[in-house]
């Protein structure tokens, strides 16, 4: 909403943005990031979702309308934006405990102790990139700070990463800054969390866990890089709870998921990175935001046909309001991720390729059209217009598979079979799977290759002792 206002202001048209009371603070900080720190806001008292028509009318007439008039006709206040200290300035000298206390008190930490980002430690990270430390990777809303190689290293140190993770950290921030991903949505109320998927020989080279406990903490590269992601969102992009991270609940950052590429090679399936267009054998990160997940336990069956219904059922029973990303809010952007344990992947692969699996899910993981439409506009106000799926088909926004007038007909969850993402990892000796439900354009999948610095092998040997 504020982005639209900023564009209008840029075009010279005065705006007044309507804003529910609980979001005024976020709106003010976000408008700073948009480069229009004084975007005029009109308050709607409370939250519209739980107000009767009469209450809403009274609130709008009593408060909002006068502010809209004032915003459009009144004087615009001059504003000045804060400046950060010089990135290379030493902001504090003190003991480990004192550094940690100061970082916590000033909102620079996630609640756990950080490794103090000393110049020496930062230098050891910078040694693992040939990019100049002032190199600008991109500009990150809402604070609009410039992502630099330097501040990547600083947050990497803080998160407990090792210097040799630096090439991965740089690739992650390149992905974060990619407009396709949409980092600006990271503070929205569903509070989804990013899952990083790692591919390439670097998985083994740096000792990532990709077997039992693949999504569990306890493995330095998986854990510390996952933590880095959240620290970077906080310290550089500027997403802080109670400020402009408005996740109603949110959840903890996710550890990096590394794929079991041995199994993938054995069954001849492409990696997630390969599905995203990265050349085979390249190291790459893939990021995407997921609202939540669930484990699919005790999948029984010695054939693909017996196993696949478990996956289809999980997808149908967990996809709900997120279907506004299949059609409605941002059509064709719903990308749920299935993580298959090696046993299940191997069972399916006896007769099917990954493409076959995606096609099977497209045809069989289906829900009644009436329920789908309820998610779109019956139970939320997220998709206005109350268009039926059939209307969307006629508008060319959905494929034919959604067409029809029978409310009980079964329709797919995604618009293309390949929108189901499939990874392989986890305990090689247990028949469980995992499902992550996707947040659409509010964190769309983006892959970046990991560029290793010249002399990587020698540097790594030195770093690993």
């Amino acid at each position: 909403m504020l982005r639209a206002s900023a564009v209008a202001e840029q075009a010279g048209t005065p705006t007044s943005s309507l804003c529910c009371e609980g979001f005024l603070g976020q709106a003010k900080t976000i408008s700073v990031g948009l480069g229009y720190p004084n975007l005029a806001l009109a308050k709607v008292p409370g939250h519209v979702d739980v107000q009767t028509a009469d209450e809403l009318r009274a609130n709008v007439l009593g408060t909002t309308v006068a502010q809209v008039i004032d915003n459009l006709c009144g004087e615009v206040a001059a504003m000045q934006i804060a400046t950060d200290p010089d990135p290379e300035e030493i902001v504090f000298e003190g003991s480990f405990e004192e550094v940690n206390r100061l970082f916590l008190e000033n909102g620079w930490s996630d609640g756990l102790p950080i490794v103090p980002p000393t110049k020496e430690k930062i230098a050891s990270f910078l040694a693992f990139t040939d990019l100049p430390h002032e190199h600008a990777i991109g500009k990150l809303p809402p604070d609009n700070r410039i992502a630099t190689v330097w501040n990547v290293a600083v947050n990497g140190v803080m998160a407990g990463c090792r210097p040799e993770y630096m090439p991965i950290l740089v690739a992650l921030v390149e992905a974060m800054a990619d407009p396709q991903y949409g980092v600006e949505h990271s503070g929205n109320t569903p509070g989804a969390e990013t899952q990083i998927v790692l591919n390439g020989p670097i998985i083994k080279r740096l000792g990532f866990n990709y077997e039992q406990g693949a999504l569990r903490d306890g493995f330095q590269p998986n854990t510390s890089i996952g933590r880095f992601w959240r620290l970077y969102l906080r310290n550089v992009a500027g997403f802080l709870p109670h400020q402009n991270d408005k996740g109603t609940f949110g959840n903890t950052w996710r550890v990096v998921l590394a794929e079991n590429e041995d199994v993938l090679a054995r069954i001849g399936w492409p990696t997630v990175a390969a599905d995203m267009g990265v050349a085979a054998g390249e190291n790459a990160v893939t990021i995407s935001r997921f609202t939540g997940g669930n484990v699919i336990v005790s999948v029984f069956g010695d054939t693909a046909e017996k196993v696949l219904p478990y996956l289809g059922n999980a997808l149908v029973s967990h996809s709900a309001w997120e279907l506004i990303f299949t059609v409605g809010m941002a059509s064709g952007t719903y990308r749920p991720l299935l993580i298959l344990s090696p046993l299940i992947a191997e069972t399916i692969a006896k007769t099917m390729t990954k493409r076959d699996v995606q096609q099977w899910l497209f045809e069989n993981a289906r829900m009644p059209a009436s329920l789908f439409e309820k998610y779109l506009w019956g139970w939320t106000n997220l998709v206005p217009g109350k268009r039926t799926l059939n209307d969307w088909v006629r508008l060319g926004k959905l494929p034919k598979a959604f067409a029809g007038n029978d409310p009980d007909r079964l329709v797919p969850l995604v618009t293309k079979p390949e929108h189901f993402m499939i990874a392989v990892a986890g305990d090689p000796l247990r028949s469980n799977c995992y499902l992550l439900i996707h947040n659409g354009i509010l964190g769309f999948p983006v892959s970046k290759t990991v560029r290793l610095p010249p002399g990587w092998a020698e540097k790594l040997r030195d770093a690993q002792g």
């Binding site: 603070g25 900080t29 504003m79 804060a82 902001v91 003190g94 000033n106």
Partner: protein, 401 residues
């Protein structure tokens, strides 16, 4: 570097919604300080360093402050019925955000006990009422100051003085709560003299101007009941006071002081002047069957600026253009002298001070627009009584040591 004598300070100066610091908007660069929430001031002599640093940064009213350490600010926040990050509003004119935590830091600096915070928060809520016109109060060339009246049980519980010497030194609550409001205006609103504030002389009431209604000696309904609150509630009532003029005597003497050029600006802006009525005068009125309305009627009828003086006054001849006076003033001038307020109800009446036979009243003329008499209930934390007892016990223990 590290030592046990370090102090962890909550930075008390204002930050805007945009992230900008009030200090960076005041023109002349202040002494450097870290643009962050919390700062560590290293010892030895950290307390003394803080006094020196805060003076140089312009974060004081000129007197030494109590360093707003995290421990002290957190102790005050325990008394807040709201979360530390909650924003009460923007303090005009430089629009520093009045978060509960920033208010608490300034209250600590002012010398408030932790348990004063609910009153300070209610007072800041009054400041933020658009009718108070804080922007005007902060920037005008007049000498106006906020006049804070505390009424209800909390005045007694916090020992806010409404009796002997209520406007003078010697009472912690009166001194510190009023000062807290000033520091909020100063540090969050940026109201530094000569930079943002251009009062010709200002007045000592700008250090603090806070007292309680004398509930024991008040023969009438309390201020907050007049404002529509329950008698059992506690409240703060805020007015704009140009100054405090002592009046020894009774209603006639008060009226004679009201009917002078002292009321000029109040008349020009249809303001709400305050009369602090001595207990002896109030008792005398009550004995004669006068209620508050009758007292106000009397003061309104008799406290009139003589028409000739008004017409030839500096205000009328040098400042106010033809037709610039409110209609009610012109109307009054057609038939006689000018009342000190638009209506009797615009006169704020509060019984205060010690009960002495030679009664000491005060007249506080108003300044500016719009007419303002703002009352806010003091919201107390759920476990107020227990917290208050614990705070008193802790203070006793400290003294006994």
């Amino acid at each position: 570097m590290s030592d046990a004598g370090s102090l962890w300070i909550v930075i008390p100066t204002g930050q805007l919604a945009s992230g900008a610091w009030v200090d960076d908007l005041r023109g002349a660069p202040a002494a450097p300080f870290p643009r962050q929430r919390v700062e560590v001031v290293r010892g030895p002599r950290a307390e003394e360093r803080i006094q020196e640093l805060f003076q140089r940064r312009g974060w004081s009213d000129g007197l030494p402050v109590v360093p707003p350490t995290l421990a002290r600010v957190n102790a005050a926040l325990a008394f807040a019925p709201r979360a530390p990050g909650d924003v009460l509003g923007e303090i005009e004119p430089l629009k520093g955000l009045a978060t509960v935590e920033k208010i608490a830091a300034n209250a600590v600096m002012a010398g408030c006990r932790p348990e004063y915070l609910p009153v300070v928060l209610a007072a800041v809520a009054c400041l933020l009422d658009p009718a108070f016109n804080l922007r005007g109060v902060q920037t005008t060339d007049e000498n106006v100051a906020p006049l804070l009246l505390v009424s209800g049980p909390v005045a007694l519980e916090l020992d806010v003085n409404g009796s002997f010497g209520a406007l003078g030194p010697g009472w912690q609550a009166n001194a510190a709560i009023g000062r807290a409001i000033r520091l909020v205006m100063h540090n969050l609103g940026g109201g530094r003299p000569g930079v943002v504030g251009y009062a010709g002389l200002a007045q000592p009431g700008r250090y603090t101007l806070c007292l309680a209604e004398n509930a024991e000696k008040n023969p009438w309904e309390p201020l907050h009941v007049e404002a529509g609150l329950a008698a059992s509630a506690s409240a703060v009532t805020l007015m704009r006071a140009e100054t405090v003029i002592n009046v020894t005597g009774g209603l006639a003497e008060i009226a004679s002081v009201m009917g002078t050029a002292a009321s000029g600006f109040g008349i020009l802006w249809s303001g709400r002047p305050t009369v602090l009525l001595a207990p002896a005068v109030a008792a005398d009125c009550a004995r004669r069957g006068m209620g508050k309305d009758a007292v106000r009627q009397f003061l309104w009828r008799h406290g009139r600026w003589r028409r000739e003086e008004w017409r030839t006054s500096w205000l009328a001849t040098r400042i106010v253009a033809e037709g610039g006076w409110p209609d009610w003033v012109e109307e009054a001038a057609r038939t006689g002298n000018i009342p000190a307020a638009r209506t009797p109800d615009d006169i704020v009446l509060c019984v205060a001070g010690g009960d002495i036979p030679i009664p000491q009243n005060a007249y506080c003329p108003s300044w500016g627009f719009p007419p303002a008499r703002i009352t806010r209930e003091v919201a107390l934390p759920r476990d107020w009584t227990a917290l208050l007892t614990a705070a008193r016990d802790a203070a006793d223990a400290l003294a006994a040591n």
